[in-house]
Amino acid sequence: MSDDIYREIILDHYRNPRNKGKLPDADVSIHDSNPLCGDEIDIHLKVDGDKIKDIKFEGRGCAISQASASMLTEMVAGKPLTSVKDLTKNDILENIGLMNLGPARIKCALLSLKVLKLGMVKYYADRDPATAKKLQDDSKGL
């Protein structure tokens, strides 16, 4: 099973993360960590109209959490921010190609999506609380 997990592409994103770094003029920044293993992710977003114009992440942790974050930023860059609400656990696991992680490691894979969804809600909370509320309700269960 480790062979399936630690494939070339995961290690590549772990060692050469895409979109890693700060975003000085970010419209919204959000942080969270996994209390059980200590993995940490920050996501910074620049939003243009409804579109994710720029996205960067910072973080530290295991290959799964960091590669998953890197691949997530690639996946959503340029997409509508509200579309983030529709992303599911399975979308992420498919995106990183890891469909059968155990419950402990799944949390690592999903941490960046959790942070991104929080970021989406936070962005609208300041600008359009009703939308924020709706997005939050629709995003539940992660």
Partner: protein, 415 residues
């Protein structure tokens, strides 16, 4: 032993191997000490056994398979507990060692943060020591006052006294038992909570004797804190539960601190973990928490309303029969709708310890003494009482054996 009551007791008894035990040189065990601790069904004993045989591991912080299995099972119990008392969220369920520690957690954490000089804490004369001594210590440390709601001669709380206490301002907390472990009295907690909340005062309910014996819904009752013990409801020893409403819990400082309850520790400062973990320091009692899930399943399968119905039947029968024995004084309400399956009494000048010895010779296990309720003993003006208490596996035939032993005591002591 055919029983046409609320529960199929004959079937239930098969699940409790200890009930086949012989004591006192060959007598079948008649276990009537259920208010102290209940016996455990095979399902609970097996769950603990299975854990140690197959997936014993420390939890929460490891990646390996045993840890994952143990963590899932442990958290499953929290879900079942939350559902059993209808808590809004598993975040509101904290595992402690017993009901006593659960109450102490509130006294140390919430109490020390909120109770000030000249504040008052209101309890009752029927409380167990575990719901008295923590408040004595807290109030004496803070220069606050402890006030008692009295109990009348029939075993009911004097609600008028409660009203006066509430009117006297500065009450910071009301902490009352849901069911007396001596009188059996079921306290009108919903009224108490409603009256208290009208003044913005939170209420702790000691559910040690109620949660095992009747359906309890913390949201409907609207209590702010509730404490109870697994070992009094078919579960293992070493597991207590504290329920706290989330908005109160979020503001409480930690109690036991160390591993597992932290998010980040630095040399001179620490960020605490999320609820409920913030209140569970150190390696929990993993095996027994997991075993407790089987106890909850067992009670759910019976149905708590049936459990209550069964105990009302037995209590009615017991009170009827005991009242027929010459020289007996019974304590507590006569109306079985107002009381649980705990029957306290005295007979003549027989000291309860002597009575318990005579009972034991008949295979009957009852409790004798002050039942950790010395304030109530002073109120009743007795040093001690004898107490028989019932649970799902007890039968009228066992009560007959108990009555036989009582008659024997009367004969020996010539009463």
């Amino acid at each position: 032993m055919m029983q046409k009551g609320a529960l199929n007791v004959e079937k239930i008894r098969i699940d409790f191997p200890i009930l086949n035990r012989k004591v006192s040189g060959g007598r079948p065990l008649v276990y009537l000490d259920n208010a102290a601790t209940t016996q455990k069904p095979l399902a609970v004993i097996d769950a603990i056994h299975d854990y140690y045989m197959n997936y014993n591991s420390n939890i929460h912080r490891a990646v390996h398979q045993l840890a994952e299995e143990a963590t899932i099972a442990f958290e499953k119990t929290r879900e079942k507990v939350a559902k059993f008392i209808n808590a809004k969220s598993t975040d509101e369920i904290i595992f402690t060692r017993n009901a006593t520690e659960a109450i102490n957690l509130v006294a140390y954490s919430w109490g020390r943060a909120n109770v000030k000089k000249d504040d008052k804490i209101v309890i009752t004369e029927v409380e167990h020591h575990s719901n008295i001594v923590p408040w004595q210590i807290l109030t004496s440390e803070k220069g606050a006052k402890l006030e008692y709601i009295g109990v009348d001669d029939n075993g009911y709380l004097k609600m008028q006294e409660y009203k006066s206490h509430l009117d006297s301002n500065r009450v910071k907390l009301v902490s009352v038992t849901h069911m007396s472990n001596v009188l059996g009295t079921i306290v009108p907690v919903s009224d108490i909570i409603k009256m208290s909340h009208e003044k913005g005062i939170p209420v702790l309910i000691d559910g040690a004797q109620s949660v095992p014996h009747m359906a309890v819904d913390v949201q409907k009752m609207d209590c702010d804190f509730m404490a109870f013990s697994a070992h009094k409801m078919l579960g293992p020893t070493g597991v207590g539960i504290l329920y706290v409403k989330r908005d109160i819990l979020e503001k409480m400082p930690p109690f036991i601190s160390g591993g597992d309850m932290i998010k980040e520790v630095h040399k001179y400062e620490t960020r605490y973990n999320e609820l409920p973990y913030k209140f569970e320091g150190g390696t929990p009692n993993i095996a027994d928490v997991i075993g407790f899930a089987a106890a909850i399943d067992y009670l759910n399968n019976l149905g708590m309303d049936k459990v209550r119905e069964h105990e009302i039947e037995l209590t009615k029968y017991a009170i009827d029969r005991i009242s027929g024995v010459k020289g007996v004084t019974l304590y507590g309400p006569r109306n079985t709708n107002d009381r649980g399956g705990v029957v306290s009494f005295n007979i003549g000048d027989v000291h309860p310890h002597d009575l318990a010895t005579i009972m034991n010779d008949h295979g009957v296990a009852i409790r004798s003494g002050h039942h950790c309720a010395q304030v109530l003993m002073e109120r009743l003006d007795v040093a001690a009482t004898s107490r028989a208490s019932f649970y799902i596996y007890n039968t009228k035939e066992e009560i007959d054996t108990f009555i036989g032993a009582l008659e024997e005591a009367r004969r020996l002591f010539k009463i």
